[in-house]
Structure formats: C-alpha cells, structure tokens
Point group: C3
Chain length 404, copies 3
C-alpha cells in the first residue's frame, strides 16, 4: 500500500474519539459495509511513552482455505496473541516467553467459514476448522451434534464460524492502558434467533493475563434457549506426561464408558499416546465467595501453568476434555466452562442444563486467564484452589449420566 494512503488509513475509518490522541478504532463495521484490510497502531503512534511498548496489527490472509480471513495480532509487550474476526473472534494462539497457549491440530490453516459446511459428516463440519486455542461454542446450541425438533444441530454451534459484524480496538486513556479487542458476532436467523454477542478480549501492557468479557443479548421479543461453551485448548508445553488439572471439584462424572475407565486418573495426563482417543469428564466446581471458581493446568515440574478464574453463575458446568493422542493427531486437553455439558441439546434439556435468555436480556461471561511462569505462582494458585475446595469431599460418580 502506498505509504501516504497507509498513513491515512492507519487512524481507522471509524475513529470514534475526537481526542488529540486516537484511542478507539473501528476495524470492521457491517452496518457501514466496511472493513480495514491492513491496519496497525502502536503505543508510539499513540504517543504513549510510559509502560511497555505495545502494538495491534490487523491483516488479511490468503492461500488455501484462508482466502479472505482477517486476523488481529496483539503484542502487549510481554504476551502476544491473535484474534480472528472472520472466525467469531476466536483466539488462535497466545505466546509469552516459553509458554504457548494453543495446540497443534492437523488443521493448519485459519479456515474461512465460507469453505466449511457445518452440516457435513453428520454435523461434524466444525472439525474442518478446529485448531484454536480458544473457540466459543454456541449460541443457539453447543455440544455434540444431534437432531432436535427434526433439525440437525451441528457440533458446537455456529458462533466459531461466524464472521464478526463489528470490530473495535480500544486503548484505555489512563494507565495501565488496557488494550481491548471487541467484536460483535451476530447469530440472527428469521424465525429462530436474534442473538448479538459482544465479545471482548483485553490485556494490560506488560502483563501475562488475558480477560474475556463477553455479553450475549437476546434481541428477540421471545425468550430463547441458548448454550455456551468456552472451548480453551492446551497442548505442550503445559500439557505433557505428568501434567495435572487442579480444580475445586464438587462432583465429577465420566461423559461415557470410555471416560469411566479412566476415572481414577482423571486429573492427570499421559504423554502423547497412540490410540488413546479421548476421555471427557463432566465437572461441577465449588465456588468462592465472589461466585467465581479457579482451575489450573500445570506442567509436570509444576513451574509452568495456566490459571483460569471465571464467574460460575453464568457457566455452572465444566467439561474436561482429555485428548492425549499423538502430537500429530492433536495432543490437547480442553478446559471448557459452559452453560451445560457437551451432550446434544436435546439431552441437555432433559437434565435442565439449557438456560433461557429472556427477551431483550443479556448475559455476561467473564473469564481471566493468567500464564504462570514459576514454581511459586503455580503453588499459589494450588493454594487458592484448595481454599475454595475447603476440605470438602468430591463426589465421584462412576456411571455416565447418558447411555451411549
């Protein structure tokens, strides 16, 4: 792009702020019919000298099934991550020092949903694009495919394969100048759905934390069911033989017979294991006084980990997906707070785990992810989790709720 044109564009077509120093930028605006195809901003551009230097860069991908895919790279000076507006504001990968959040899927490209048919393979089309660190599942439905009222509900819903209709980058005026990447993902279908999800991932410059602050609004005049899963996926280096999942567990139930066989070791991990398949555990966590809970995945040496603290009222159920297959196949574990478990909606409904969102109402979802980079911080989180457990017993249910 011509440098002058580039400079002009770099302030964003939708500069929302009239202040001398720009701080809110619209990168995608479907109402206006526009999208930035190449855009960046740095702390220096903003005249911010104090604190860690940071940058946000939006660009387009091409090649293979990536045609027309937009990605936003954020570097907070210590931690960097990539948000994908074209795929529902999914977060592809997070890196900080020697820790990466994410995993190696056989799917390497960031696939434009135009090339995916979610209905294919009996509703498993979602797997054609699955390679993110964090993919939201929802909103009309989530979970495994299944027929409901004569219609095929496809794996994990549509939001992760829906291009964002509005994307805004905000940098706070005041220190610590938190950077916010906001994207509105619409799930609107005549007669069926009128959901607007304002997603947000934010980070403080220099920190090792990400915060998800999403708000789902039912714009319909009718109360409507919804389902949400935050499908966060972790491979090496946090996942390895001897890694451990640590959580304050009120109740755990194997998802199916395969998982039942592994119940004794459900919180620990094998190394990459051919023919392991997957084991899934349905968890109900204990909650702290603020209505939050904390879970952790830590490596074998207990000197690296990820802490996830989130509000439980909105996400009362938690799925632990252990997919310790070989590295090439996808050696990965999913930590998945949700409105329910991962059975098809028609089954979840019978267990009372499909909430409704009243007409015009909103539901927020708040999740804080912090990378732990030393033994002490891992130990500290373990103590926090133990404090939530508070010595209470875990109910181990040995039989799946649902027969296969």
């Amino acid at each position: 792009m011509h440098p002058i044109l580039s400079a002009l564009l770099s302030v964003g077509f939708g500069l929302l702020s009239s202040a001398a120093v720009a701080k809110e930028f619209v990168l995608v605006d479907a109402e206006a019919g526009k999208r930035e195809t190449e855009w960046s901003i740095t702390s220096r551009d903003l005249g911010i000298a104090a604190g860690p230097a940071f940058s946000v860069h939006s660009r387009m991908l091409d090649g293979g099934k990536q045609e027309g895919v937009q990605v936003i790279d954020v570097d907070n000076g210590r931690l960097s991550f990539t948000v994908v507006p074209t795929r529902g504001m999914n977060i592809e990968r997070v890196t900080s020092g020697d820790v990466t959040l994410g995993w190696n899927s056989p799917v390497k490209e960031i696939v434009n949903p135009a090339f995916i048919t979610l209905d294919s393979r009996a509703g498993l089309g979602w797997l054609d694009g699955f390679n993110e660190w964090l993919v939201r599942c929802g909103y009309e439905w989530a979970g495994h495919p299944g027929m409901d009222d004569g219609k095929l509900l496809t794996l994990h819903g549509r939001v992760g394969n829906t291009p964002a209709s509005k994307v805004v980058v905000v940098v706070d005026d005041a220190a610590p100048r938190r950077i916010h990447i906001r994207g509105r993902v619409d799930e609107k279908v005549f007669k069926f759905a009128d959901y607007e999800a304002w997603t947000e991932v934010s980070t403080e410059p220099g920190s090792e934390s990400l915060r998800i602050s999403d708000t789902l609004t039912n714009q319909s005049d009718y109360d409507r069911e919804y389902q949400v899963l935050y499908h966060g996926n972790f491979g090496p280096p946090l996942l390895e033989a001897g890694s451990e999942f640590v959580a304050p567990v009120k109740q755990v139930t194997p998802f199916n017979d395969d998982a039942a066989k592994g119940l004794d070791t459900w919180t620990t991990y094998l190394g990459p294991t051919k023919n392991f398949g997957e084991q899934v555990y349905n968890v109900i966590p204990f909650v702290d006084a603020n209505g939050s809970t904390t879970v952790m995945l830590r490596n074998k040496a207990a000197d690296r980990g990820i802490r996830l603290t989130y509000g439980v009222a909105a996400l009362p159920y938690f799925t632990l997906w252990k997919n310790t297959d070989t590295l090439r196949e996808g050696y990965v574990t999913g930590l998945e707070p949700g409105t329910g478990f991962a059975y098809p909606r028609v089954i979840e409904r019978t267990f009372g785990r499909v909430p409704k969102l009243a007409a015009g109402k909103s539901q927020s979802f708040d999740l804080d992810y912090t990378i732990l980079t030393d033994r002490e911080s891992v130990a500290k989180v373990a103590r926090d989790i133990a404090a939530i457990q508070a010595g209470r017993a875990t109910q181990m249910r040995t039989t799946p709720e649902v027969k296969e």
Copy 2:
C-alpha cells in the same frame, strides 16, 4: 480509489455502446471473468439535462457475512432502490418519500451466499439471509422444503442465493430514458438443470414505479419442471393495524389449520402481535381482459399503498403470507405471485401446479409495482380491482388442501 482511475473505470469495462453518450454498461461478466467493484453513472455524466436527475452506483460491501457482496443503488430522482447481484438480483429495499417497501428482519446484513448452507436446519438455510423486499424463489424448485426423489429440496430454491453471472445497466436513448438493471442468474447443474434467468428491474426517472421483466430460459435439451415465486415483502408503513389486502379473488383457501382459523379476517391485518406466528392463504385471482390482475396493499388511512399488476398466465397462483409478528421478529406480509403455492414440490406436483419449460423455450414474468401516495390513487386502484372482480363471488374454501 484514485480519482483518475475512478474516472477511467466509470465508463465500465464493458461499454457496449459506441455512441458519444454511453448508455449501456457491463458491470459483471463471468464469461470475461470480470466485475466492477466501484462504479457509478449519473444523468449528468450522460449529458442528460432534461427530466429528473438520476444515478446508478455499484459498490462492494464488507464486514460480517457481507464480505464480497455487491450492491447497486439506483436513484431515479424520486424513488430509490438497491439491487443485490450477489444475491440473485434481489431488491433489498425501495424508498420514495415517506414510503419504504421492505421490512425489518432480524437478519440485518446482506449475506453473501458463500456463508449460507441452504440445506441446514432441514432445508431452512434460506432464512439465514432473508430480509429483502423482493426475493425471487426458484427455479428448479420453490416453496417449503421437502424430499423429492430422495433429495432434499430446500426452502424457496436457490436463485435468491446465486450470484449473478452478468449484470448490465442500460439507460434508454430516448425520453423518458428508462433505467434498466439487468442481471443474468444461472441455475446450471450437470444432469439436473440448465436455466438462465435474465432478470430486469427498470424504472422511469421521476416515477414511483418499478417494473420487473424477467425471462427464464431452459437451455437444456430436455423439458424440465420449474417453480417460481415472487416473494415481495412489506412491513411498515404500508403494513399496520387496519391495513388491507385488496384483490379480485376467485378462490381463497387457507394453507393450513392455523390459517383456517383466521379465514374470516384474511384480508385485514393486525398490528404487531406477539405469538401470532403466521397465516398463509392460497389465492386464485380473477383476471382482466389483458390477462393481468391487480392487487393492492394499503395502509389503514387508505392514503398510502402499493399496487401490483402482473401477468397471470405465467403466475396463475398467489400466496398471501401474513406474518404480523412483533416488529423485532419481522412484522411483514408477503404478496407472492407464483407458478404454484408454497407446498413442497412433491405436493404441488400432485395438484398439477408444477409447470414444465420445454427444451430451449423461455417464459417471461412481468410485474409492475407502483407506490400510491394519496387517498385518490388508493381509491382508484380499489375501483380497478373491483372492476376486475366485476361483482363475481369469491369461493371461500374453509379446509386446507393439504393435511399437516
């Protein structure tokens, strides 16, 4: 775009006329592999001083599911409308003074068909993009989804989600210098279909009328079935509590049991009504001496309305879709001339309402829409319709033809 480049492009890559004043422009040409991405022409550009100033402007949308969508805005000096080549030359919206033709669907974006799977939700994927004033349904099939010969025929066919293969803007040389937006939409599938539909919407500068002049040609060597519905959709201001549908009705039959309950008031409308759902009536109109009929939707005060006059030989059946749900859900009524009613093709066939188009033959469809903006013109159309009815009785059939 650079102004010089823009100026160069503004004459169109496919300028077909060699006259000093350009009057025919090719905006899309799949055979040549080309499309204009930004193009406009005005009456001034064409050196036309007499009559109302007019303009035609083609542009690309982006953001959300609009990526790659082309729209053409036409302003005839009094009435403006938007044609969507990417969605089968659908007409998104028409405005003139205080009258808008169109409605507010929960679906706000003009969705690129690349993001729609018509087969999804048991064949209801069409609803993911449904928000137009006028969407053509066809051509291999139209109507409700259903299995036919082991294949799922999806709601209202494919034409409304098929990008136009050729788009031409024509401005007549002589007064009144009618503006024509022509688009060829192909429905070509090896072993199944070889339809070419030359669609046209045209308008006279300064008028309050639109004319649809479509020609469907069966390029196959085999005679083939076809189905067409012109799905024109009206919300406020023409639709309100007390609005009335006026038509010369030979026979009316409720589509289903729900509609049967509303038969007594089938020509009048409620205001936005929660849980109304929809009621559909199958209408056979009387015809005038020219083989045309006229129907009208008018507001409560009878000072605003839309007149639709169309050729009945090609479109012998008429569906009235009353969907007076809440404003947010889509408060809308559909006036839908068709080759048949909206039952699945397999059912329509049993009633003899699936015509065939012989090999190499064409069928034309002509519809004139005029916005009525005062009490007198509404009254005039009512008299015209009464003249077609000519005092003949309406056969009211109380039982649906088809059991649910």
Copy 3:
C-alpha cells in the same frame, strides 16, 4: 496495477532461487498467508532464447460463482492449458491445434467451492461445479455418494473443491526446460484426515504432452483408507460417432443393468444421443513390463486421439464413463484410472478395493497424456496397446457386481 508495482511482483513474492535467472516461483503460500493475484512469466523474461517460447500467467476471476477463483494459464508454445488452484489444481481445458481436451458442461463458470455445498442433493453437490477436463477425486473417499459409518460421503470426495495451500511454478534450468505447475492440496480434518497431496502437471515446451505426477502423503500417525480417481473427460473433437476406446483389457464388467445392455458395443461411441443417459464399465487393464498400461481414445477417422499411459500399481482399476448425451447436456466420456471403481466406499470396501496408506507414507500417481494428431501416431498407439494385450483374451462379465 501500476506497471512498476506489477514489474516488482512479477518475480513472485516467494522467489526461491538465488540464481541470476529466476526459475522457481511461489504463487500461493498459505503458511505465509499470501497469494499472487496477477502474475506472469515468459521464456523471454527468463532470458531463454532457445526452444519454443512459453508463458505462465496467473490471474483472478470474478463474476457469478467465480468470485475469488485463481487460474493459471500455461502456454508451452504448442499446447496450452489452464490449472485452477482454487479447485484443487484441476485442469480446466487443454488445447493444441484443432484438438481440445475437455467438454462442454452445462456448468460454464469455474465455481469457487465457497458456493458449493457438496452435501446438497443427497451428496451430489459436486455436480454444481463439474466441467473440467481433469478433476481429481479423493482422498478420504471418491465414487458415488453413500452412507458410511453414519456419515454421508459425497460424490467423488472433496479434493476437487479444495483450494490449494501452496502453488509453485518451476522451470527447469536445463533443456528441455520442462515447466512444472505444482500445488499442494490439503485434506486435513481433526480426528479424520491428515492428507497432503502434492499435485504436479508438467509439460515440455513445444510438446503435445502433459504429465501428472502426484504424491499423496498420509501425515497422520494412523494408517488411513484413501480413494483416488483421475476423472479425465473428453468431448468433441475426440469424441464423436464412431470414436473408439482402445485398451488392453483383462476384464470388463458393466457397472449396472443399463451398462449391461450396452456391453456389446462398450468400446465404441454413438454421436450425441438424447435420453442416452450414461453407461459405465469397470475395467481391469493388462499391464506392460514396466507396470504401466496405455489406453487411447481416438476419433472416427483415427487421425486424432489421446494416449494415456499410467502406472497401474497405484491405480489398478479403470472406469470408462460413457455419457453420450446431447451436446448441450454434456456429450462426454470419462477415462478414469482409480484405486477402485465408482461404487460408494462402503461397497468398494467389501470388494477389497479401498487401499490404506500407512502412517507417514506416501503414494505416487503418474499419468502421461499425449495428444495424437495424425493417423500414424494413432496407429502406433494401437500397436502399443495390442502389444500389451499380447493376444490374451478379455474376460467379459455380463452381470454387474452390485445390484441396484
């Protein structure tokens, strides 16, 4: 494009060679997120004076369902052809003198897979884009649609509708300076497939031959089934009344009852014939001492033809598809070497015709196509084929293997 920018781009963003004369160019690279949208190279650009002048030109199409489709036109000085990266490196058309390889499908556009739903029409969505001279079928499956393990396997698999992830043009340093168009097509689905197919079509400047040299690699840690068909399709001028298919045939079996009726004349062709439908024959060829076989399609006068020589170990079965319908419907015959026949995978498996590719292993496929332009070369190929047959009898099986 600005001429200077164009000149800069013309060397390719991924120039791999450091030699003074460029000879390897990357046109698509999904790993880098890039694609050339307009690119060309000629023998003159490369400073090659000896031998026939040649050129390679990559460009983007638009209009209709062609939006975003990339094509590469190759002219070797005598023969020209078009490769379509967006559609799995299919070869659209080959022309040399008065011979064209290809056919006239009702489908005229080169359709972007984003507009195709392979699952539609009970798995026949592939027909929405079918018009190539050569389309690869595979790799998880090929053949007719059918359910397998509860999932619909769609007609002829996905590779022909998968955009290439990497495309490289190579011109050999030394005479005869063969031109190679290489494209990597990935079929990667979490839990199901991790195939990488490096496809290559190459030609010598001035020759009338094309060589396909593909390598399919199973990057998975699991052995996996695969299916491949090379679906090469020929209309006029090679196909006409009196054309003949010549091959060293060990065994031939009609695909179904319709084909059984035509068994007596299975190697000869009718002219365009309304209501012919199609007849398919399952062929096992004899093999020469090098493990290859040769088949030919020749015109009535026996002075034009196509010779196909290919390795049989990788492609032991051969399907002859006779679709001598009318010219408009698609007057075409398919010569289709494959890993099996065209029955659904679930059926092919029962006959032991679904091979497995071991974890990490590769399988190559080599096919040489030569256009024959005089009576003597046609006669020569006929003698070569007779030599492979070596007087051995053909087993004519009159009953299809599979009941309809």
